[in-house]
């Protein structure tokens, strides 16, 4: 019997596999950030242990940083202390830090790939659930808790039981205005927010193959939103082209050797999956969420599902969720006024996302009732956007281009959505209060978010794209 892509990579990283114990899995690169690492560094100190492989550990500050005036000291004392703590810990333990002001600083899941640290066949972990993003390169990548951060620091390994394998295939041609974000929101609306729990998910099919690396990262990023342990996509020429020439990518002979290995990384034809789901790209509309978990998504022209149609045991939670969002049974959300638009996060803050938004908003202006934030995923994305003049396009449209960080995705740093306000957001979670206490999040693609910014309400992007205009 053949092997899945996931098993090929897992098997190549097993240090020890013993009956009754989780496997000891070798970790190629450990990404760390300011929020989930301080207690782990403390743990090492208490044990008197070093970071075993500091050169395989990469740090950045992203969650708890401002995205405006980054050259000034962080205003909020606790945030400043936490970011300073990362600097001190990295210096003490010999870990490379791409902190504020560094040309490589940015959201951990944006900088790993853009620096060529994330590569096919590797194993990557980080104290952040969206580590699944890196799976887009055909790698095993997942989020871990702080005790495990300490574990990887101390041993460069992780105790982990092998998950089950799921394949999700998407085939066919996407409609105009529909992109990677719509695909993954559509998938999660079908699987529910728990449907992937216990699985490593491989995305396959010609629609997935046709996506750029940025699109593939958007898909894998949200694997955790269906509960999956990780998501991955077999590497191909698109992947290899993306990695080639990046700062830390292999060079010369090493490169040739690496590429030869990467070409063996695919699921064999007769590989067995524990579960297989198939979807048609033609069925996918521009997607939006209406509730308080990412599984609560609908096509933009569809109506909010009726409470009576929901599983009886879940009706109370469902009704609470609609009440929180200020939406009702069978409502069409098209035309609903919104207050904020956030374009950013590890899901959608890469240069391609910014280019797509800029191409659409060029010559247009945001609606008066809306505040728009565009937050690049990294310093490099910001510099690239400026070099291409995208900042000027955004500025004329009333969308200030901010500085890199997680920003309004998680309601932790200064960028928060006020209580009761609606934010159309390109981020990944619409949980209650995720973007600030009592804020209301509507997840969408960068194009749908840009359309809402321009019209001031939930809009079907397809109606604003003229014939021949950009495709998702």
């Amino acid at each position: 019997m053949g092997n899945t892509l996931f098993d090929k990579i897992w098997d190549a990283h097993v240090v020890s596999s013993k009956e009754g114990f989780p496997d000891i899995l070798y970790i190629d690169t450990h990404f760390i950030h300011e929020v989930t690492s301080p207690q782990a560094f403390d743990g090492l100190r208490k044990r008197g242990l070093p970071v075993l492989r500091p050169k395989q550990t990469v740090a950045t500050a992203d969650h708890n940083v401002p995205t405006w005036d980054q050259h000034l000291p962080i205003k909020e004392e606790l945030s400043r202390y936490q970011v300073d703590m990362l600097t001190k810990n990295c210096a003490e333990f010999g870990v490379e830090l791409y902190g504020l002001g560094h040309p490589y600083q940015g959201i951990v899941h944006v900088i790993g790939p853009e620096l060529g640290i994330t590569r096919p066949g590797g194993t990557y972990v980080c104290g952040d659930s969206h580590t699944s993003t890196h799976g887009a390169f055909g790698a095993i990548a997942f989020g871990i808790g702080t005790s495990q951060v300490e574990q990887v620091m101390a041993t460069q390994c992780l105790l982990q039981s092998r998950p089950k394998r799921m394949k999700i295939e998407v085939n066919g041609k996407l409609q105009k205005g529909v992109g990677a974000k719509d695909i993954i929101l559509y998938i999660i609306s079908k699987t529910t927010a728990a449907g992937g729990t216990g699985y490593a998910v491989e995305y396959a099919g010609d629609t997935i193959r046709s996506l750029s690396m940025e699109g593939r990262m958007t898909i894998c990023n949200m694997s955790i939103e269906m509960g999956a342990r990780c998501g991955l996509i077999a590497p191909d020429d698109t992947t290899i082209e993306y990695v080639k020439g990046r700062e830390f990518a292999p060079k010369g002979e090493e490169w040739d050797k690496a590429v030869a290995y990467w070409k063996t990384l695919y699921s064999d034809d007769d590989a067995q999956f524990d579960s297989v789901l198939s979807f048609n790209a033609e069925d996918i509309e521009p997607m939006i969420t209406y509730g308080t978990n990412p599984g609560m998504g609908i096509g933009v022209t569809q109506h909010v599902p009726v409470t009576a149609d929901v599983d009886p045991t879940e009706q109370k939670s469902y009704a609470n969720s609609l009440a929180y969002m200020g939406v009702h049974d069978d409502e069409s959300l098209i035309g609903k006024p919104i207050d904020y638009v956030f374009i950013g996060s590890c899901t959608n803050s890469r240069i391609e996302d910014l280019r797509e938004v800029a191409a659409f908003v060029k010559g247009k202006h945001k609606a008066d009732n809306v505040t728009v934030w565009v937050v690049p995923g990294s310093k490099q994305v910001q510099e690239q956007a400026i070099a291409e003049g995208l900042d000027k396009v955004f500025e004329s449209a009333g969308f200030p281009l901010r500085e890199p960080g997680c920003s309004a995705c998680l309601g932790m740093n200064e960028d928060k959505i006020p209580a009761g306000k609606y934010c159309v957001s390109t981020s990944n979670r619409n949980f209650e209060g995720r973007q600030g206490p009592n804020s209301r999040t509507i997840l969408a693609s960068p194009l749908t978010a840009a359309a809402a910014a321009v019209t001031g309400k939930i809009t079907d992007i397809r109606e604003l794209l003229s014939e021949g205009e950009l495709v998702g």
């Binding site: 005790s147 728990a194 309601g411 009592n438």
Partner: protein
């Protein structure tokens, strides 16, 4: 280093029959600025527990003096979302030793086990029985026997077996630690690295 030792508990319980409770509800991100593991219990379920002026919300179960105990009983897919271990720390710090649900998110489950907080996964039916019992008798006791892997409703005698990874079970009962285990296999790690 040893972790907290866990064998058996018998306690009253707190019912929270909501599905898909995510870790942002358990501990909102704005409280993740602390650099130690202590004190998160004060902000457990912060935005469900307190209003914008920090006054307790009367209708939330943790503010209802009727219910208390070391066991939290919650709807399915508990702990979904962010990997923040602060969620497990907050539940432990508040005083919970176990969470019972019909389904747990992966990362939360691992984090809980690494902190001596036992996630007990039961069937939908058994979960419904526990809720029924707690609503008919606030003093109903829940017993969890980790060695036997059984959860029991004391009043009715209803019980159900639950699963747990045998290694993690041994860790909880004996206070073993993952890092000690991997370090005891350090030669294998070095051997693996040498082959790369």
């Amino acid at each position: 280093m040893s972790t907290k030792i866990f064998k058996h508990i018998q306690s009253t319980a707190v019912p929270l029959p909501i599905e898909n409770i995510d870790t942002d509800q358990i501990i909102p991100a704005r409280f993740l600025k602390a650099t130690t593991r202590e004190g998160f219990g004060n902000n457990l379920f912060r935005d469900w527990r307190f209003d914008e002026n920090d006054n307790p919300k009367k209708d939330f179960v943790l503010n209802n003096p009727t219910y208390s105990g070391k066991v939290l009983v919650a709807g399915k897919n508990f702990g979904c979302g962010s990997s923040r271990e602060h969620a497990a720390w907050a539940l432990s710090d508040y005083g919970f030793d176990a969470v019972v649900s019909s389904f747990f998110a992966d990362i939360f489950k691992g984090n809980a086990l690494n902190n001596g907080l036992l996630p007990v996964q039961v069937s939908d039916d058994f979960l419904a029985k526990i809720f029924d019992e707690l609503y008919s008798d606030k003093d109903a006791q829940i017993e969890i026997d980790l060695e036997q892997q059984v959860i029991r409703i004391s009043n009715t005698g209803d019980e159900e077996a639950f699963e747990i990874n045998p290694y993690k079970k041994a860790c909880l009962i004996n206070g073993y630690d993952d890092i000690d285990y991997i370090l005891s296999n350090k030669a294998l790690v070095e051997e693996f690295e040498a082959k790369q």
